[in-house]
């Protein structure tokens, strides 16, 4: 089964546009699911969002030179709000 690349691009665009602080992340270390707005935020070389329960690094954000790197070192699932289909 093949999936149209444009459809995948639309899904990714939709997923990232819905991922604000109301997005719910599941911690891969302790399993807690919490809104990303409750994450502990640290400013290192980039920004690190950590689980409010166990301090596992969930998401990293680095923005520079017209690029953004979003890493998921410890968030196994993100629930984001999208339109109904």
């Amino acid at each position: 089964m093949t999936i149209d690349g444009n459809r995948v691009a639309d899904l990714l665009r939709e997923a990232f546009s819905g991922g604000g602080t109301s997005a719910i992340g599941t911690c891969g270390h302790c399993g807690a699911s919490e809104p990303m707005g409750s994450a502990h935020v640290f400013q290192g070389a980039g920004i690190v969002l950590r689980c409010p329960h166990c301090d596992q690094a969930l998401v990293t954000i680095v923005r520079a030179d017209g690029r953004m790197w979003v890493g998921f070192p410890g968030a196994v699932t993100m629930q984001v709000a999208v339109g109904t289909t």
């Binding site: 409750s38 400013q43 290192g44 980039g46 920004i47 690190v48 690094a57 520079a64 790197w69 070192p73």
Partner: protein, 200 residues
């Protein structure tokens, strides 16, 4: 959601140009940047290890580590967030001392720390007087906010390559990008070539 960090300040515009890499400014402050909460490992539970590609792993307790030959080191440091601090004074143990007599075929090292932070670099960037594990800053025990009780000092690379709260060095046959290196930052991090991000 609040950012847990201190502010910046104290810019000094009159720094000698040959000591300030491109894109950097000099500060008299010592900004605190941290990818996570400050660990507070009691010294009686602290140790430092060399593991990986060597016949026998090496390990020092805090007391054993303190008894190793140490030296005062004065170097400029450069953070990828664009501040540089000149003539910082440290005391610590050369990585050459830690690796003395070690035979290894490893070409790469991963520094690992309390809290899970890692950063990678070639082994040759830690030897021949280029890197230390330091435990004093400016004549006092290294504050935990700055990586105490002990941190890496690899001053010829951007400072994210000097792991705070270091607990060991893992000697490796293959390069393994660390915490920031997999998330946008340059794999090597030479400040004089402004190697900040992927592709720089």
């Amino acid at each position: 959601m609040s950012i847990i960090s201190r502010g910046f300040g104290g810019r000094r515009p009159d720094a000698p140009a040959d000591r300030v890499p491109p894109g950097q400014y000099v500060t008299r402050d010592y900004p605190v940047l941290s990818a996570g909460p400050t660990p507070h490992t009691p010294l009686d539970q602290w140790d430092l290890s060399i593991v990986g590609e060597l016949d026998e792993p090496r390990r020092w307790t805090w007391e054993e580590f303190q008894a190793l030959p140490n030296e005062e080191i004065t170097r400029d440091i450069h953070c990828v967030t664009k501040w540089s601090k000149l003539d910082t004074i440290w005391r610590g143990v050369s990585v050459d001392t830690l690796l003395d007599g070690v035979e290894t075929s490893a070409e790469y090292v991963v520094q690992y720390s309390d809290g899970g932070y890692t950063t990678n670099l070639p082994l040759e960037d830690l030897t021949d007087g280029k890197a230390w594990v330091v435990y004093e800053y400016d004549g006092s025990p290294l504050p935990s906010a700055h990586g105490g009780p002990a941190r890496m000092l690899v001053p010829h690379l951007y400072f994210w390559k000097s792991a705070k709260w270091v607990r060991g060095l893992r000697l490796q046959l293959i390069d393994e990008p660390g915490f920031w290196e997999v998330n946008g930052y340059h794999n090597y991090g030479d400040p004089w070539r402004e190697q900040r991000y992927w592709g720089d």
